[in-house]
C-alpha cells in the first residue's frame, strides 16, 4: 500500500503541494460559510431582543 | 564623469526622459484612487509600486545592456511605447478618477 502511495524521490513535494492547495481551497470555502452564519445569528438575536 | 562612458550616460538620460512622465502619471493615478480615504492612509504608494515594476525592469535592463556593450534598442522601444500609450489615455483616466474621488 505504501509502495502505491509513494511518488519516488519527490514524494514530499507532491504531497505538500496538494495538501497546501486543498487546505487553502477549503479555508476559502468555509470563510463565507461561517461569517454568514454568524451574522445571521447575530441579526436574529437582535430581532429577538427588540421584540 | 563618474567613470561612466558618455554612451551609457546618454542611455541613462534617455531612460529617465522616457520613464519619468510614466512614473509621474502612475503616481498621480495611485494617489487619486486613495484620495477618498482618511488623510493618513498609506495605501497610495502600495497601489502604485506594482505598476512601476515594468518600467523599472526595462530601464534597468537597458542600462545593463548598454554597459555590457549589448544592443539595447528593444528596451528603449518598449519604454517609448509605454510612454506613448500612457500619455494620451492618462488625462481622461485621471479626470474620471478624480471625479469619483471628490464626489462625496
Amino acid at each position: 500500500m505504501i509502495e502505491f502511495l509513494s511518488m519516488g524521490k519527490h514524494t514530499a513535494f507532491v504531497y505538500t503541494a496538494y495538501v497546501f492547495s486543498v487546505i487553502v481551497l477549503v479555508i476559502g470555502f468555509y470563510i463565507p460559510h461561517f461569517i454568514l452564519n454568524r451574522e445571521v445569528k447575530k441579526k436574529k438575536n437582535e430581532n429577538n431582543k427588540d421584540k | 564623469m563618474f567613470n561612466i562612458s558618455l554612451h551609457t550616460l546618454t542611455t541613462i538620460f534617455l531612460t529617465l526622459l522616457l520613464g519619468t512622465p510614466v512614473l509621474v502619471s502612475i503616481g498621480i493615478f495611485g494617489s487619486a484612487l486613495t484620495m477618498g480615504i482618511s488623510k493618513n492612509n498609506i495605501l497610495g504608494p502600495i497601489i502604485t509600486v506594482p505598476f512601476y515594476i515594468p518600467v523599472l525592469i526595462f530601464s534597468a535592463s537597458a542600462i545593463e545592456s548598454v554597459s555590457n556593450g549589448l544592443p539595447y534598442d528593444l528596451q528603449i522601444y518598449v519604454l517609448l511605447s509605454i510612454l506613448l500609450l500612457i500619455l494620451p489615455t492618462m488625462p481622461y483616466l485621471l479626470k474620471y478618477t478624480l471625479r469619483i474621488s471628490i464626489n462625496n
Binding site: F13 | I37, L43, P50
Partner: protein
C-alpha cells in the same frame, strides 16, 4: 430568464440557498475524484517521474487566477457604467477568491520548481507578473475595505481592477515573448498538443472542477455580500423570521 430578476438582490438571496448546498456537495465530490485521478491514475512522466503531478493543482489555479481577474474587471466595469448593485458585489467578492487562486499557483509553483529547476524562485517575466497579480488582488481588497462609503469604494476598486487588466496579457504571453525558465504553452496550442492524452485529461477535468469551485464559492460570497448590505431592510427581516 429575465436579467432584471437576477440583478434583484432579494431574488438572488432567496433562491440560491438550496442551489448553494447542492453545488458545494457536487464540487467537493468531483474535487476528490480529481485528486485521486491526478495522484494515482495518471501515468508517470518519462522525464520528471512523479513530481509533474503538481501540474494538476498548479495549472488550474494559475489559469483561474487570470480568469477570475477578468470576471472581476468585467463585472466591475458593468457596475461602474450601469450601476447594477449585484455586479458590484460579484466584483468585490471574486477578488478574494482570485487572490486565493493566485496564492495557490505561486506556492505550488515554488514547490514544483525546487525538484525540477533546483530553485524555489526566479525573477523571470511570468513569475514576477503573477506576483504583481497577487499584489493587485490584495490592493483591490484593501482599498475596498478602507472606504466607509461602500459604493464609492466599489467604484474605486473597479477602476483599479480595470487598469490592472494590462497585467493579464503580460502573464499569458510572457512565455512567448521572453526567454524564460517557465515552460512554454502546451495546452492552448491548438495545432498539435504536445502532452499525452492520458496526462491531459485529468488536467482538463481539474480545470473544470476549479471553475465549479469558483462558481460555488462565488455564490456563497455573493449571498454574504447581499446580507451585509440588506440586513436592515424589511424583506430581509421578514425573511429571517420565517
Amino acid at each position: 430568464m429575465n436579467i432584471s430578476k437576477i440583478a434583484n438582490l432579494k431574488y438572488f438571496y432567496k433562491h440560491t440557498k438550496n442551489v448553494s448546498k447542492i453545488l458545494s456537495f457536487i464540487t467537493f465530490s468531483l474535487f476528490i475524484v480529481g485528486i485521486f485521478w491526478g495522484l494515482y491514475i495518471a501515468p508517470k512522466d518519462y522525464l520528471q517521474g512523479d513530481s509533474y503531478r503538481i501540474i494538476y493543482v498548479h495549472v488550474p489555479a494559475a489559469w483561474l487566477s487570470l480568469q477570475v481577474y477578468i470576471v472581476m474587471a468585467v463585472t466591475g466595469f458593468i457596475a461602474l457604467v450601469w450601476k447594477i448593485k449585484i455586479m458590484e458585489i460579484i466584483s468585490i467578492q471574486s477578488a478574494s477568491i482570485g487572490a486565493y487562486f493566485t496564492l495557490i499557483a505561486l506556492v505550488t509553483g515554488m514547490i514544483w520548481g525546487k525538484p525540477t529547476w533546483g530553485t524555489y524562485w526566479v525573477w523571470d517575466a511570468r513569475l514576477t507578473s503573477e506576483l504583481i497579480l497577487l499584489f493587485l488582488y490584495i490592493g483591490i481588497i484593501v482599498i475596498y475595505s478602507s472606504f466607509t462609503d461602500k459604493r464609492q469604494g466599489a467604484k474605486i476598486a473597479a477602476l483599479l481592477a480595470i487598469v490592472g487588466l494590462i497585467n493579464i496579457p503580460i502573464i499569458h504571453y510572457s512565455v512567448e515573448w521572453w526567454n524564460t525558465l517557465h515552460q512554454g504553452p502546451t495546452v492552448t496550442k491548438f495545432e498539435k498538443p504536445s502532452a499525452h492524452i492520458t496526462m491531459l485529461m485529468p488536467l482538463l477535468y481539474m480545470l473544470l472542477v476549479f471553475n465549479l469551485y469558483f462558481v460555488t464559492v462565488l455564490i456563497k460570497r455573493v449571498r454574504l455580500g447581499i446580507f451585509q448590505r440588506e440586513k436592515n431592510t424589511k424583506w430581509m427581516e421578514s425573511y429571517l423570521n420565517d
